[in-house]
């Protein structure tokens, strides 16, 4: 039976009034559960059929907080329903069954259930279901931020045309990294393995991996997407269905958030030129960009019920540049958001997909200019200009960062550096933002191997952040701290490298504010595996030796004008606290 399908937003104090949708083909249980939930002061809607439940959920996206469903149902397997709900609505789902076999419970968890209850169910078990709603909300924010950072990195990387690093399987997944971060305060060092409460394998979603993911999603068609399909297409042996499912959820969330943001801010940001530097502020830039991207995305995606994306009817008013981009993407196969950055040297359609929001098409971030004057701006970097202005100063990205000598790290750094190499806050780079004149020599690909570089870069550099994915990749066991500290070094190296690469064109719209966090320790921006330790606490960045060409032995002498970031435009640090997580490497 379906009672009031639509519930109005809760007015009572949480968790009272929690809107629960119960799905069970057994009428007796349905009555019992309804009664139990009502006794918990929750608002209950019951459904005897899975398809009715989906219908209700789709009709009213925001009408429910949590779904409780039986595993065995006649019209649809409970696990299937679970997947649908997770993908489309991203609500917490609790499974129920009279069968408590481990394999079944495991299956439930793999499909994304946040809990698995055994019948007969006690009322006290139902009383606490609100925790799942709460937990999800908390993690949602973090995940989005991480994703944004990741996307940015990806964009940068793509722009830079860096080689693929392969995937990292780090110890932590987003959630755990974030948690860790919170717990620890600064990123951490703690051994990667311990923070997650679950023992599941943690995957670090590197830019590369994410790119594959997005490609797969686009190929399948956003509305037909499913973890299994994506997994198959991605062809990553070590990746599990569960990994993909949870990443997909975050992706959706991210997209929907972009959409929301778009509608919120955008005010005339001009994208044609440095979007990043937009007056709208860092966020605004992003938004505008996002919008465009979303536009594109919208178009392309046919997202079911439009749930995710946007419905961004907005701003198509973006300047032609954007439009150009948009159209480009429109031309892309699959509705995915393939956004091409106009300037990017190597436009990769898949690249922009996710991060479209971040990147202002073609514009700004052009890392291409890494040469001494970095024209690009890092929108995402909140590097305070003042700091950056310091001219060749030792980069110490962060006060606390100890320096690490990352012998092999450097190389990685670049690789992943999608674009924002600059973010490396340390002014390294990037972009022409007006960041001050800090010049950091951008390292080119050679940086990669530059262990020497790292060491040469003055140990004073406190790199707090950015651990590029490469780091992560290569040093999976990287201790976050180490990365952080070395980040500085790396950064310079990377930044230089990056600049060298074509990343310039990708504007790094790092939604992540790696810079913002520079204050603290290095935080890994890229939680997702891209470990860009973006904690660009740019404020503290000083680029001492970085600026010194001599430092970079192998690298071409680019000067990173990291300081040039137009930090203002960078996103507001408060917006993206996430990058902080320490390296995401597990």
């Amino acid at each position: 039976m379906m009672d009031n399908g639509f519930s109005s937003p809760r007015n009572d104090a949480f968790p009272a009034g929690l809107r629960v949708l119960v799905v069970d083909d057994d009428p007796t249980w349905l009555k019992i559960l309804e009664k139990m939930l009502k006794k918990c002061s929750y608002e209950v809607t019951t459904c005897a059929l899975a398809r009715d439940a989906l219908h209700l959920l789709r009709e009213r996206k925001d009408g429910y907080d949590i779904v409780i469903s039986d595993v065995n149902m006649p019209d649809m397997d409970g696990f299937k329903l679970l997947e649908h709900v997770g993908l489309e609505m991203d609500l917490p789902v609790i499974m129920m069954s009279v069968d408590g076999e481990t394999s079944r419970v495991m299956k439930g968890v793999q499909h994304g259930a946040c809990d698995y209850l055994l019948k007969p169910i006690r009322m006290k078990e139902l009383r606490n279901i609100w925790q799942h709603v709460f937990r999800k909300k908390i993690n949602e924010v973090r995940d989005i931020e991480i994703l944004e950072g990741m996307e940015t990195i990806q964009m940068t990387r793509n722009g830079l045309d860096l080689p693929d690093d392969g995937h990292l399987v780090c110890g932590e997944d987003l959630t755990s990294v974030k948690k860790r971060k919170d717990i620890e305060g600064k990123h951490d060092d703690k051994d990667p393995g311990d923070n997650s409460s679950t023992k599941k394998a943690r995957v670090v979603w590197s830019v590369d991996l994410h790119q594959k993911f997005v490609k797969a999603v686009n190929q399948i068609g956003f509305d037909k997407v499913g973890p299994k399909k994506i997994l198959d297409l991605m062809n990553v042996p070590w990746l599990t269905r569960e990994n993909v499912a949870s990443h997909l959820q975050k992706y959706r969330l991210y997209l929907s958030r972009l959409q929301r943001e778009d509608t919120v801010s955008l005010d005339g940001i001009k994208h044609s030129d440095s979007p990043l530097r937009d007056s709208a502020g860092s966020f605004g830039n992003q938004n505008s960009i996002n919008k465009q991207q979303l536009d594109v995305a919208n178009r392309s995606y046919g997202f079911p019920g439009n749930s995710l994306l946007v419905q961004n009817t907005e701003p198509r008013s973006h300047d032609s540049e954007r439009k150009g981009i948009v159209s480009k993407s429109a031309a892309e196969p699959k509705g995915a958001l393939s956004f091409e950055v106009p300037d990017s040297r190597k436009p990769k359609s898949s690249q922009m997909e996710f991060g479209h929001s971040f990147i202002s098409p073609g514009s700004e971030v052009n890392f291409a200019e890494f040469d001494s004057n970095f024209p690009t701006r890092f929108s995402w970097c909140e590097v305070p200009q003042t700091q950056l202005k310091q001219e060749p100063k030792p980069l110490h990205l962060d006060d606390g960062l100890s320096q690490l000598t990352l012998p092999g790290k450097q190389q990685r750094i670049q690789a992943d550096y999608p674009q924002p190499a600059p973010p490396i806050i340390s002014g390294s780079s990037v972009t022409e933002r007006d960041i001050g004149s800090v010049k950091i020599k951008p390292l080119n690909d050679e940086c990669r191997n530059n262990a020497s570089l790292a060491s040469s870069i003055g140990s004073t550099i406190e790199t707090s952040h950015v651990q590029t994915k490469t780091h992560a990749a290569s040093h999976q066991a990287f201790d976050p701290i180490s990365i952080n500290t070395s980040s500085m070094k790396n950064q310079t190296s990377y930044s230089s490298c990056i600049s060298d690469l074509e990343s310039t064109q990708k504007n790094i719209n790092w939604g992540l504010s790696p810079f913002a966090t520079l204050d603290d320790d290095l935080q890994v921006c890229w939680v997702q595996g891209d470990c860009y330790a973006m904690n660009l606490g740019l404020q503290n960045i000083e680029f001492p030796e970085y600026c010194d060409p001599g430092l970079i032995a192998d690298a071409p002498t680019y000067l990173y004008d990291a300081v040039r970031f137009d930090y203002e435009n960078l996103y507001d640090p408060t917006e993206y606290p996430l990058i902080e997580q320490g390296l995401f490497i597990a």
Partner: protein, 146 residues
Amino acid sequence: MDRRHLRQQVTYVRKSLFDQGYLDDQFMQLEDLQDDANPNFVEEIVASFYSDSARLIQNIEQALVSRPVDFGKLDDCMHQFKGSSSSIGAKKVNMECSQFREYCCAGNIEGCIRTFQQIKQEHATLRKKLENFFQLARQAGQAETA
């Protein structure tokens, strides 16, 4: 019967249902849910169960007689039935259901058939006992409110 006597009887009958293993803790959960908003909640739930279980029993019977035997289907049907009977705390019925599923997994159709007879019997017995109990409770309640 006077009120006190009736209530004593109700208490006694109820206790014996638990002691003899006909009902388990779940039944008490149902009793806890009963309140002013749903004063006959337990009885309603039991009625709902018996009404729905008729259909489930029929499904099982069909699966039992069809040849070749589809143990998978049989297991599914029984799973459903078991889930349902757990809703009212039908302990003996549930135990027989578990037994049934064991035979089913072993592919023992004879065992399944035999067990199913047991299930039906327990199912019917419990029904009578509960009906009796509810009637008594009603009488006692009426006597009280009289």
